[in-house]
């Protein structure tokens, strides 16, 4: 008798679980985050795990790259663009029970600019003059000067709210206000998050999520095929996509990212200080053929800006593929056929394999491009640091909307243009959105005209996920994998 009851019970339990929609998710990533505090390092992998899941800022960036409210319900901006008044969601709580109010905002912003701060994007906070708390539910942030992207900047992963009591432990035990709380980290393999049942906002559908780290492209494809992983937002094996497309169990999506792949040139080194040479290189590269050869679904770009960015202007027609014109420009600049330059190539395939393709294209116009593979650490140390020991390098800049790098006193391209700097200053300090868009167009046109680097293509976001999974971000405007919007179809 007991046996029968047990069997019946087991049967009910079994059908019970079969009927309920799946509420777990395992997500594949290529790189493991070195640590889980987005305010203490630059690793994109950290953001892709914790941003908008564990940690939230006053604003957040949505899947279209737009600024939307997060811990700030709403805000008002003074007419001169200097004072921002935020109304806060004080019902929000940190995962350790600590309260969220204006004192947390003040603590977060002051900690980021402190002398011992290790915030990789300290520059984002630089414009803040002071943060004041007239009452716990209101934060008043005063800027030193108007800052065009301020609301975007404070929605970025490096400007999320940090609890004063939990700040020190966030690297290994992140504590935020977000819809998911940190459960455990098996180093080298996975990070597990669980739904925060006390979350202040809407309750997410997924109850527990596992981020799995799979570095090898064929292992990533095998893990998807075997069903170990439900979704791979940045899938590393584009050559296997046809297999996934043909398989009804999977959805393949090609989206966009903010990653600008460029052939960066050392503008301080001869002959790249000559705009004719830089333009010749731009004419010599067939962007469409490059993307096809790499099979990475990139979109050609004409300046340091990608389609989808606010105020994007299509300048891809400025330097169409034209080897004859490239040769003529090189001859005009006094470059003889057989001129040798070095391409220093960091490890990602877009650089190493891209380097091979570009070297072959440059050969067509009489340039010998020697390929020199280097480690990422060497790239940072030798190309990026002030000695800028390089002719040219291939690199993807993934920071969204980073037109500011061309206006800096020093950046490794060694591009110096007073016109660009003046226009950029004007853009940053403009309050009127329509005027901002006009100036953004001007900045892109100056870059296209001067062509300090050869702009190649925007990196694509190639994703594979199980059919039936809803709410995955199709595009990647900022590094993030927000789980709250994801669910399984019934």
């Amino acid at each position: 008798m007991n046996k029968i009851i047990a069997a019946a019970l087991a049967a009910t339990l079994a059908t019970g679980t079969a009927q309920a929609a799946k509420d777990t998710l395992s997500l594949g990533m290529v790189l493991e985050p070195p640590m889980l505090d987005p305010t203490g390092g630059a690793a994109a992998a950290t953001r892709e795990v914790v941003y908008q899941n564990v940690f939230e800022g006053l604003t957040r960036i949505d899947q279209n790259g737009q600024v939307v409210p997060a811990l700030a319900k709403s805000w008002t901006i003074s007419g001169d663009g200097l004072v921002y008044i935020f109304a806060l969601h004080t019902e929000a709580k940190f995962h350790d029970g600590a309260a969220f109010d204006c004192s947390v905002v003040k603590f977060t912003y002051e900690r980021a600019v402190a002398p011992d701060s290790t915030n990789a994007q300290k520059g984002l906070f630089e414009a803040i003059a002071k943060t004041e708390c007239p009452d716990p539910a209101t934060a008043v942030v005063t800027l030193k000067r108007p800052t065009a992207r301020f609301l975007f900047n404070i929605g970025f992963s490096d400007t999320v709210m940090i609890g004063p009591a939990s700040a020190a432990g966030n690297k290994t035990n992140p504590v935020g206000t977000g819809p998911y709380l940190f459960k455990r980290w098996v180093k080298g393999d996975r990070v597990e998050l669980a739904r925060n049942e006390a979350y202040w906002g809407a309750k997410p559908a997924i109850a527990s999520v596992t981020f799995r780290f799979v570095a090898d492209p064929s292992a990533a494809a095998a893990a998807m095929l075997a069903g170990d992983i439900d979704a791979f937002p940045l899938f590393p094996a584009p050559e296997t996509l046809d297999q996934f497309r043909a398989d009804k169990r999977f959805t393949v999506n090609i989206g966009t990212t903010a990653g600008k792949t460029i052939l960066a040139l050392n503008n301080a080194r001869k002959p790249f200080d000559d705009v004719r040479v830089r333009r010749a290189l731009a004419y010599a590269i067939d962007r469409k053929a490059l993307v096809d050869a790499l099979g990475n679904y990139g979109t050609p770009i004409g300046s340091h800006y990608v389609p989808g960015d606010v105020g994007y202007v299509d300048l891809t027609g400025a330097y169409p593929y034209d080897p004859a014109k490239a040769k003529a420009l090189l001859a005009e600049a006094g470059i003889k056929p057989g001129f040798t330059m070095t391409l220093r190539l960091p490890p990602p395939p877009y650089a190493r394999r891209g380097g091979e393709v570009i070297a072959a294209m440059l050969e067509q116009v009489g340039i010998v491009a020697k390929q020199e593979p280097i480690e990422w650490a060497q790239w940072l140390d030798q190309v990026f640091k002030p000695q800028t020991d390089y002719d040219a390098t291939i690199i993807a800049h993934v920071e969204p909307g980073d037109l500011d790098v061309y206006a800096r006193d020093f950046y490794y391209y060694n591009y110096k243009s007073d016109e660009y700097r003046a226009t950029f200053k004007q853009y940053v300090e403009t309050v009127d959105p329509a005027k901002q868009v006009t100036l953004l167009g001007d900045l892109q046109r100056i870059l296209s005209r001067d062509e300090p680097n050869v702009y190649l293509y925007a990196l694509a976001k190639v994703s594979v996920w199980k059919a039936g999974l809803r709410g995955m971000w199709p595009n990647q405007p900022v590094p993030a994998n927000p789980i709250a919007g994801i669910s399984w179809a019934e």
Binding site: P34, M35, G41, A42, A43, P115, D116, S117, T118, N119, A120, Q121, K122, G123, K171, T172, V186, K187, G188, D189, R190, R212, F213, V214, A215, D216, S218, A219, A222, A223, L225, A226, G227, D228, E375, W376, A377, Q378, L380, D381, Q382, F384, K385, H397, E399
Partner: protein
């Protein structure tokens, strides 16, 4: 080990690359870089860093990882919990396949069985282990769905689950090793079969089989044990490719990542620890020599 520590420290200090810049990326400000260098103790002169590292090491403190911000001891222990069982499983597979194969091939020298077994061993020696790994994944994980394709659930998820995730990589590592070991076993057994004492044993009236297993095989084991010791040392940290194919968080990948990330303290500690473990394995092999050949321990 002291020599190893000095060599690795010197090599790492001339290697280009700045750990602080690697942590903070391309948007870091100079003052932020300086803050993190001070936090990691990288603002001190090299000789002071070496001395403080050695001083801490002497009292068993391995320091704190630059990238992970956790004690290196914790990091290494977690990785060794994967690498050590994996190496043991691979060596067990290697031994249990290689010794029977080697002995049988030797006893059937020149006949069909020998030719077939040694042909298979030749095939195994030339088989790249990562390729074998991919084939195993395709067969057992993707097609049959019996075992996970990759990853390691951790020992706290249950030992059965953990062993399941180590089984395919252990086979991928163990079989090519077995092929090498089988060839060594065969030639060593053949050599002893020609010795006088085996002929004496046969003359005493022992059967061929008894003479083989009781007299020839034990005497042929010295070179076999040496190879097993070498294979085990290799398997502890030389398995980075297999670890990548199966996404296992082992010591090999830790070493590889630490070098790429310029997590210098982890690289230094690992080199010293691995040098130590090779010494330990060699010592264990010497002990085993003594067990199987009493003449060696009496000396």
């Amino acid at each position: 080990m002291l020599a190893a520590s000095l060599v690795v420290f010197l090599v790492l200090s001339v290697l280009p690359g700045d750990p602080a810049q690697l942590i903070l990326g391309t948007n870091a400000r100079p003052d932020t870089l300086a803050a993190i260098r001070a936090q990691l103790g990288l603002d001190r002169p090299a000789w002071l860093r070496y001395l403080s590292w050695m001083g801490a090491l002497a009292v068993g403190d391995l320091g704190t990882s630059y990238t992970y911000s956790v004690p290196v001891a914790e990091l290494v222990a977690a990785r060794a919990a994967v690498s050590l069982p994996l190496a043991l499983m691979a060596v067990t597979i290697s031994i249990s396949v290689a010794i029977p194969v080697g002995v049988i091939a030797a006893s059937r020298r020149g006949r069909g069985t020998d030719v077939a077994l040694m042909g298979a061993a030749q095939f195994g020696v030339s088989l790249p282990n990562f390729w074998l790994g991919l084939l195993l994944i395709l067969l057992f994980a993707v097609t049959l769905g019996w075992l996970p394709a990759s990853g390691f659930a951790g020992w706290d998820a249950g030992w059965l689950l953990a062993l399941r995730s180590l089984l395919l990589p252990a086979v991928a590592l163990g079989l090519p090793q077995a092929a090498i070991l089988a060839r060594v076993t065969r030639s060593s057994v053949l050599e002893t079969l020609g010795e006088d004492f085996v002929r004496t044993a046969r003359a005493k009236g022992l059967t061929r089989r008894a003479a083989l297993w009781r007299h020839a095989v034990p005497n042929a084991m010295i070179p076999v044990i040496t190879i097993i010791g070498l294979q085990f040392s290799f398997l502890l940290a030389g398995t980075v490719i297999i670890e990548n194919v199966f996404t296992l968080p082992g010591l090999g990948r830790l070493m590889f990542q630490s070098i790429a990330q310029r997590d210098l303290i982890v690289v230094q500690d690992l080199v010293v620890l691995l040098a130590g473990s090779v010494i330990l394995v060699n010592f264990a092999v010497d002990l085993v020599y003594g067990l199987i050949d009493p003449r060696l321990s009496r000396r």
